[in-house]
């Protein structure tokens, strides 16, 4: 058997500018957990083996490297771990289908405010919240992971476009900060 080498969409690219850091993250395995009608109880049993519960809308939770993210009505993404046996839901492998970018820094929300039509400030979007929305015209899943940290998930095919958009916006925000008024 030949040895296959896993490659991420952007090779772990990293950019630091004006106190902002943009980096491609490795999310590990991603599995879509889509509940069958009435399957919530059975699925909860499967998720319990990881210490997780099915997340309410617009939230995600983490436990020992496993993360479960709400991604739609009765649908969530299990990330970072191989899925245990879960009944009552359709499990679909989504690994390698997504590119995950981490943006951090005090001005991270200012960068996203230029691209995303949702209020992502901590007051409206605290840690543990997730939004399915757009980055410019790209569909994206945005997670608030810390006070000044957010993660942006886009389809892998859009990874370079997302990077291009964010890199451009970061350089504009950084330039704006450098101007003394």
């Amino acid at each position: 058997m030949p040895e296959l080498i896993a490659k991420s969409a952007l090779d772990g690219r990293r950019l630091t500018l004006g106190g902002l850091t943009l980096v491609e993250l490795d999310p590990g395995p991603i599995t879509s957990v889509a509940l069958y009608p009435g399957g919530a109880k059975l699925a909860a049993k499967g998720l319990k083996t990881l210490g997780l519960t099915f997340p309410p809308p617009n939230t995600f939770t983490e436990k020992k490297g496993a993360r479960i993210v709400w991604t739609g009505r009765e649908q969530a993404f299990l990330m970072g771990v191989a899925p245990p046996a879960i009944e009552g839901a359709a499990l679909t492998d989504q690994s390698d289908g997504w590119a995950v970018l981490g943006i951090s820094g005090a001005a991270a929300v200012d960068v996203l405010a230029r691209l995303v039509p949702v209020d992502l400030r901590s007051s409206a979007f605290p840690a543990g919240r997730v939004a399915r929305t757009q980055v410019n015209h790209m569909n994206a899943v945005i997670l608030r992971t810390g006070d000044h940290e957010l993660e942006i998930m886009v389809f892998r095919s859009m990874a370079r476009t997302a990077w291009h958009e964010l890199e451009g916006t970061i350089s504009m925000v950084a330039a704006r900060q450098a101007v003394k008024i």
Partner: protein, 87 residues
């Protein structure tokens, strides 16, 4: 214009796609009279006032929404999930 998606919360117009009148939810039976099918496919009201229509939250939770709005005042008085509505 903003719509309050029952799942995602208040979102900008650009996240939604307009489909058409609520009538699309009331598909006649396969053996229904021709006139009923004609009405389902072609006949639409054009009210000055309250109207109900279907919107798709394409850049959000991918749910079909039933929106009640007023074409005169632009007030949006209700947004429901089609998937969870009582028939």
């Amino acid at each position: 214009m903003r719509l309050r998606c029952p799942l995602c919360g208040e979102r900008d117009r650009r996240e939604f796609y307009y489909y058409g009148a609520e009538d699309y939810l009331h598909r006649p039976a396969a053996d229904a009279a021709l006139a009923e099918w004609d009405a389902y496919l072609h006949l639409r009201d054009n009210p000055a006032g309250v109207t109900r229509d279907l919107w798709y939250h394409e850049a959000g939770c991918s749910q079909w929404l039933l929106v009640t709005r007023n074409t005169v005042t632009h007030e949006i008085s209700g947004v429901e999930l089609v998937a969870e509505r009582k028939a």
